[in-house]
């Protein structure tokens, strides 16, 4: 993958500095970001140095102090924004019960419902392009959390990730299933292929997962995000599968979603009870961060849904 297109003067200068190597970044005088997406595409690209990198950026830059300093400044702003959006404290009572209720009661527009009943093929392909940014590295940000955990939550997280990664069979690995599905419906399956097409809401969704995953301090938020993602997946996946079937799209992509109907019904129990539950038994002080992660997952999905529904001329 090459660096994406810049979305303003800030990301343009960041990308130019990244291309020119360590000396370029150390000397760069960067302007203020022009817009949220100018900032978000820069942060997304800095995070990508830790995933698959770019053909036009030297690999050494991943841990170069000037790069980390730049990323740190952008992350401070992102984290403050995510925290400010959450206005309620974590609910009291039994954790698993309260967590499932929190996810079930969250009010947001449903893209899956729209796909099931109304979307045309172009709109579904548009959505799949948006989803490809995360689904082609599905579970990867959660994997960063593994070495930060003690025995019980670690065993449970690895159990869930083992299933996400195909239980040893590359053909069953979830992001590979999605890549196969993309090709089957005529879309590009290369990692990051549609990054230039996605709005700021999708960039922020991806940046939040990297932020939570890369910082040990935010392990509670990373696992709360994972649990909310799993707990809001089964029924929407069924709706997605039904919508794709209604439109006569290739069965490979339909199977990606039907796989998630039953897989995530099991994963949500593991994520909430065995991962977050045991984490909180050991570290009860992480409760607010677990709910920060959960809220962020649901809130950013609602923001992405509102954007797409508006773009398609639908009131969200």
């Amino acid at each position: 993958m090459m660096l994406p297109k810049p979305r303003g003067a800030f990301s343009a200068d960041v990308f130019e500095a990244l291309r020119s190597g360590p000396s370029g970044l150390a000397e760069a005088q960067l302007p203020e970001a022009e817009s949220p997406e100018d900032e978000a595409i820069a942060l997304w690209s800095l995070y990508e140095l830790h995933f698959r990198g770019f053909e036009d950026v030297e690999e050494d830059l991943e841990w170069y102090p000037a790069v980390l300093h730049l990323r740190g400044g952008l992350e401070t702003e992102l984290e403050a924004r995510l925290r400010a959006r959450r206005t309620e404290d974590a609910p009291d009572g039994d954790f698993a019960e309260a967590f499932f209720a929190f996810v079930e009661d969250f009010d947001g527009p449903s893209l899956a419902r729209f796909v099931q009943t109304e979307a045309d093929e172009e709109q579904v392909l548009d959505l799949l392009r948006m989803r490809s940014i995360y689904h082609l590295k599905e579970a990867d940000p959660s994997s960063w959390v593994v070495p930060r955990l003690d025995t019980a939550p670690k065993a449970a997280l690895v159990e869930l990730l083992f299933d996400e990664y195909g239980a040893g069979n590359p053909n069953r690995l979830h992001h590979h299933l999605f890549a196969r599905g993309l090709e089957a419906v005529g879309l590009r399956s290369e990692y990051g292929a549609y990054i230039d097409d996605v709005p700021v809401e999708i960039l922020e969704q991806n940046n939040a997962m990297s932020l939570f995953g890369l910082h040990r301090r935010l392990r509670g938020a990373a696992l709360g995000h994972l649990a909310a993602f799993e707990a809001s997946s089964s029924m929407p996946s069924r709706r997605m599968a039904a919508g794709l079937e209604r439109l006569g799209l290739d069965s490979t992509m339909i199977e990606y979603y039907t796989e998630h109907v039953t897989a995530d019904a099991a994963h949500e129990q593991v994520a909430v009870r065995a991962i977050c539950g045991t984490l909180l038994d050991q570290e009860p002080g992480l409760l607010e961060d677990v709910f920060l992660g959960a809220f962020t997952c649901l809130d950013l999905e609602a923001r992405a849904a509102r954007h797409l529904l508006e773009r398609w001329g639908r009131a969200a």
Binding site: T151, A167, T262, A263, A265, H267, Q269
Partner: protein, 69 residues
């Protein structure tokens, strides 16, 4: 400090939800058909309303609390 023995189960009844299965199993449904698990983690429906029976599909969440398992 001691390294504890953990209370770990392969079959877990989830309050209000499915029966979680760890490992490979074959589940026989009420009609006598056998359904092998397809991965290391599976959830068996306990509310009787799943559209993917015998596996859980999350339908228990839309049932009123007194109708959940």
């Amino acid at each position: 400090m001691t390294a504890p023995e953990f209370d770990h189960a392969d079959v877990v009844l989830c309050p209000g939800g499915p029966l979680l299965l760890r490992g490979e199993h074959v589940v026989r449904d009420a009609e006598g058909r056998a359904h092998p698990t397809s991965g290391p983690l599976s959830a068996v429906c306990r509310c009787g309303k799943s559209g993917s029976a015998p596996w859980c599909d999350g339908t228990h969440k839309v049932l009123p609390p007194n109708k959940r398992p």
